[in-house]
């Protein structure tokens, strides 16, 4: 009845990453259920200053809810505080900031994912050799980024317990599949025996797979990724296709965020918790089909 139109502004850090593109898609789908809500999305292209500027511009428009997926923790802290001061409820999505300048924080835990992945790899090696030993290659994302640091940290915690597990190479491929393929090619030339490739995201694991396949060595090793996106281009599909041995769902956090956001908008009595941590899920060929349906945004 031409009632109040509610504006939800979502500041995305970088929609060039498939994970984040998927966040956007799901966000659009979920908010579309509420006819009184208008969603707008901005893309900071992985640039702090751009994102700060975009949040500033959002504040000028006085949205009823602001969701921020911060590009980097420190950079967005102040401007999100500004939004709070302006009386705008703020949901901090997936990545932490330095001060609790948000109404609520919806996130997952990359260290825990790293540990899960590390444990999966150790189990695999133990099964393969009868004891925890073997050669691992890690494909690293852009150095210095939280995901890269913690996915590495969690897995390393596990590997360090087994001296016979060796990390034989850990090239940096900046999250990019094409780069991972080139870097893996060189690793394959230099390393005669590789048991596991641990990609800090699925595209890099797939890139490594493409490189190994070209040298007919893809059967010698398994490929493990992180992200576990749905859809035809996502990591779960790669597990069903037998390319990845496993991937670990890094939750999009969007469904939770929309659920909470919706209550903030429509239920004045609601007071969200300060922090919602979402668990990861392991995807292996055993559960991949099921997971595919669950995590695919049509």
């Amino acid at each position: 009845n031409g009632k109040r139109q509610l504006l939800v502004a979502f500041s995305q850090a970088n929609n060039a990453e498939p994970y984040r593109a998927m966040q956007n898609a799901l966000m659009q789908k979920l908010w579309a259920q509420y006819p009184d809500v208008k969603l707008v999305i901005s893309d900071a292209q992985q640039d702090n200053s751009k994102q700060v500027a975009q949040v500033e511009t959002f504040i000028r428009q006085k949205p009823n809810l602001l969701i921020v997926a911060p590009n980097e923790r420190a950079a967005l802290t102040a401007v999100m505080g500004q939004a709070m001061e302006a009386g705008i409820p703020v949901i901090c999505l997936e990545r932490d900031i330095l001060q609790p300048n948000y109404t609520t924080y919806v996130h997952s835990d990359n260290v825990a994912i790293g540990r899960l992945a590390g444990q999966f790899i150790v189990d695999y090696l133990t099964k393969k050799y009868g004891q925890p030993k073997g050669n691992i290659v890690a494909m690293r994302g852009l150095l210095g980024v939280e995901g890269e640091i913690n996915r590495d940290k969690g897995a390393s915690e596990i590997f360090q317990k087994y001296p016979q597990i060796r990390m034989v190479a850990d090239p940096v491929a900046d999250w990019i599949q094409a780069k991972a393929k080139d870097r893996m090619t060189e690793v394959l030339r230099a390393q005669p025996q590789i048991d596991v490739v641990y990609g800090h995201n699925d595209p890099m694991a797939v890139g490594a797979y493409l490189a190994a396949r070209e040298l007919n060595r893809e059967k010698e090793m398994i490929f493990v990724g992180v992200d576990g996106l749905g859809g035809p281009a996502g990591g779960i599909k790669k597990v069903t296709d037998g390319i990845l041995a496993a991937t670990f769902v890094y939750p999009l956090c969007v469904d939770k965020a929309v659920e909470i956001g919706n209550r903030i908008l429509h239920d004045p009595a609601f007071h969200p918790d300060k922090d919602y941590t979402l668990d990861s899920l392991m995807v292996t060929p055993a559960n991949a089909r099921q997971m595919y349906d669950k995590f695919t945004v049509p």
Binding site: T57, R60, E72, A74, A75, T77, L143
Partner: protein
């Protein structure tokens, strides 16, 4: 000057468009025209705007500096490290001054290196500064061990540094000051004239006995210094030293210069033009964001408007 007037006309056109399509605020006023929004724009363009000022000098000599983004990253890192990891037992102001000096000095030295290699070995600026762009990025990541150096919101020296230097007035003020200074130097000093002369005709500059080498080293040093200072402001604004900061800033800075009417071949151009170039980019972005245009569409619209803005300038020029 006619050329400058045309840049100004292009800017005016975009501002009028921005006002026209701006959403209305609750009180019926145009959001675009709110003082807060206008100063937002200025603050947002200040960092790259400052780099573009120095880039104008570099381009006027017929050179180019691709390393500005990496130098900025190095400076953010050094400033943040000085502030968070050193305890020199000084007063806060002295400690802050030290951190800024260290960051800007390192940036300036990188500029000196650029200039010295370009002027002495006579290698193309594009290649030298490309190498610096790669190498300095590596250096910044190396000294920080790939980590961001976060500046908290406490009451320590780092936090008070950030609180001070992220102030809109300081950021915009620095840009305004730098702009005035650069305009003056270019138009009214011997150095400024040498900069233009070298880009215009290097052979003639040699015949006239101008200090070509010294001038070139200076312009790259100035470019380094300003990128370094922009890095200091970046660290304050973003509350962090970030070795990955500033990627592709060189393109934005060069674009501002070129949109402002300075050709990449050098020899002619103006600081006023560069400022207008920066403003055009800033207003354009703000206008599209205020309308919440889809980010992919935004890119396509931006592309068209950039070409139009430059075409307007060209057309009048030839007529």
């Amino acid at each position: 000057m006619p050329a400058r007037f045309q840049s100004f006309a292009a800017l005016t056109g975009i501002v009028i468009l921005a006002i026209a399509i701006s959403p209305a605020a609750a009180d019926g006023s145009r959001v675009f025209l709110q003082t807060g929004n206008l100063t937002d724009i200025l603050r947002q363009i200040s960092l790259i705007g400052m780099i573009a000022l120095a880039m104008t000098f570099v381009i006027l000599t017929g050179g180019i500096d691709l390393s500005v983004g990496s130098i900025l990253a190095l400076a953010t890192s050094i400033a943040a490290m000085c502030l968070t990891r050193m305890a020199p037992g000084m007063s806060y102001p002295a400690h802050i001054a030290l951190a800024i000096a260290a960051a800007v000095a390192a940036a300036g030295l990188t500029g000196v290196l650029n200039g010295a290699v370009i002027a002495t070995l006579r290698i193309q600026p594009f290649i030298v500064t490309l190498a610096t762009m790669i190498g300095v990025r590596g250096l910044a990541k190396w000294i920080t061990q790939n980590e961001n150096i976060d500046i908290g919101f406490g009451r320590d020296v780092a936090a008070s540094f950030a609180a001070l230097f992220r102030e809109k007035a300081i950021v915009i003020g620095s840009y305004a000051l730098a702009a005035a200074l650069f305009a003056l130097v270019l138009a009214r000093t011997v150095f400024g004239r040498h900069v233009r002369a070298i880009g215009d005709n290097e052979k003639a500059a040699q015949y006239a006995g101008l200090p070509i080498r010294r001038t070139k080293i200076w312009v790259y040093t100035i470019s380094g210094l300003l990128s370094g200072f922009a890095g200091v402001l970046y660290a304050a604004e973003n509350h962090q030293g970030n070795p990955n900061a500033g990627v592709a800033y060189e393109l934005d800075a060069i674009a501002a210069v070129v949109i402002g009417g300075t050709p990449l071949s050098g020899g002619r151009g103006s600081i006023a033009g560069t400022i207008i170039g920066s403003l055009i980019m800033g207003v354009l972005t703000n206008m599209l964001r205020l309308k919440n245009v889809d980010s992919n569409l935004e890119m396509m619209i931006k592309a068209v408007i950039i070409v139009l803005a430059v075409a307007v300038q060209r057309e009048r020029e030839s007529a």
